[in-house]
């Protein structure tokens, strides 16, 4: 390579790809998302055979293969069933920008449901300050900002006055 080309200006072009699309929620998810958006409530669906309450609601119970049709209002509070502390940034696909670590991410079983919701947990990234069994509540966007998808849930936050049972 010639000396001249060693000093060549190298061109780089930043590209932002923004892909808009519509997600057709379907019969049961429409009801779930509209209740979340309009009333800030969570609804699950109970299987008539095994009685488990699924969240998000599905038309057919994946275990019993029967049609679910009993809607159940769930609490906005639940119990942390698993969590992880993330030390690497995770890209938010809606902005393309990273969430800054450290972050706590976990599964919460809302009272009345048998399945979990996974989301960020708004708690200090300290494994002494978050534990399985911790009581959580959902924090939603203000009603006028809700759009009817799961990003309407900002995060979970712990209920006040809890003490780590192992400490």
């Amino acid at each position: 390579m010639s000396r001249e080309s060693m000093e060549q200006e190298l061109v780089s072009i930043p590209i932002i790809v923004d892909v808009p699309y519509k997600f057709a929620a379907g019969h049961y998810m429409s009801r779930f998302l509209l209740e979340l958006r309009d009333n800030g409530k969570f609804y699950g669906i109970r299987c008539p055979v095994c009685k488990r309450v699924q969240l998000p609601p599905r038309v057919v119970c994946a275990v019993c293969h029967v049609k679910n049709d009993e809607w159940v209002e769930l609490a906005n509070e639940g119990t942390l069933t698993a969590f992880t502390v993330m030390y690497l940034p995770v890209t938010d696909p809606t902005t393309g920008k990273p969430h800054e670590p450290p972050l706590v991410y976990g599964s919460v079983k809302l009272d009345g449901a048998d399945s979990m919701l996974n989301h960020f947990i708004n708690v200090e990234a300290d494994r002494d300050k978050v534990w399985v069994g911790m009581r959580m509540r959902t924090v939603l966007r203000p009603k006028e900002q809700r759009i009817g998808d799961l990003s309407d849930i900002i995060h979970f936050e712990p209920l006040e006055g809890q003490k780590n049972p192992e400490k």
């Binding site: 010639s2 080309s5 060549q8 200006e9 190298l10 061109v11 780089s12 072009i13 930043p14 590209i15 932002i16 790809v17 923004d18 892909v19 808009p20 699309y21 519509k22 997600f23 057709a24 929620a25 379907g26 019969h27 998810m29 429409s30 009801r31 998302l33 509209l34 209740e35 609804y43 809607w71 209002e73 696909p93 809606t94 902005t95 393309g96 920008k97 759009i147 009817g148 998808d149």
Partner: protein, 153 residues
């Protein structure tokens, strides 16, 4: 919840955003800086295949010969319209709002075409084989929009 409440079908507006950087590389950078600074369009010749490619690249796609900056040749700026289409609907991923015309122009001296906008012409007046010329942007930033568009020569 009232049992008779009607829930209509619901479509949720979503979008995915991805940030990336296109690195033009050795040959691509030479192409873009020459376009910006001299308003000249470069292609690359493979001696073995006797083909001139645009955009310039370091490997011949036919015979895999290594190509270098010594193989860069000026092409165009005029060329011949190979094909074209009128875009009549607006999509968020398009760089412009409809209506606009996309064409592929084979620049004089090149063996491959360049896709770009075609302006300053009525769509019905276009025809394959038409002679075209580029209009360079006033303010050039070393990207492909340094050629603002092509128009009939």
């Amino acid at each position: 919840m009232a049992e008779d409440k009607i829930y209509g079908p619901f479509e949720v507006d979503q979008h995915i955003t991805a940030h990336s950087i296109y690195y033009a590389g050795k040959m691509g950078s030479r192409f873009y800086t020459t376009l910006r600074d001299e308003q000249k369009i470069l292609g690359v010749r493979c001696e073995k295949c006797n083909k001139v490619y645009w955009p310039p690249r370091t490997t011949c796609g036919r015979c895999f010969s290594q190509l270098s900056e010594d193989d860069l040749v000026e092409i165009g700026p005029t060329g011949t319209l190979e094909t074209y289409t009128l875009v009549t609907y607006t999509e968020p991923v398009h760089p412009r709002k409809a209506p606009f015309i996309y064409g592929i122009i084979k620049l004089d001296g090149a063996d491959t075409g360049m896709a770009h906008f075609i302006d300053e012409v009525d769509y019905t007046q276009l025809h394959v084989g038409m002679r075209m010329q580029p209009v360079f942007a006033e303010e050039r930033k070393a990207n492909i929009l340094d050629i603002a568009y092509f128009k009939p020569a």
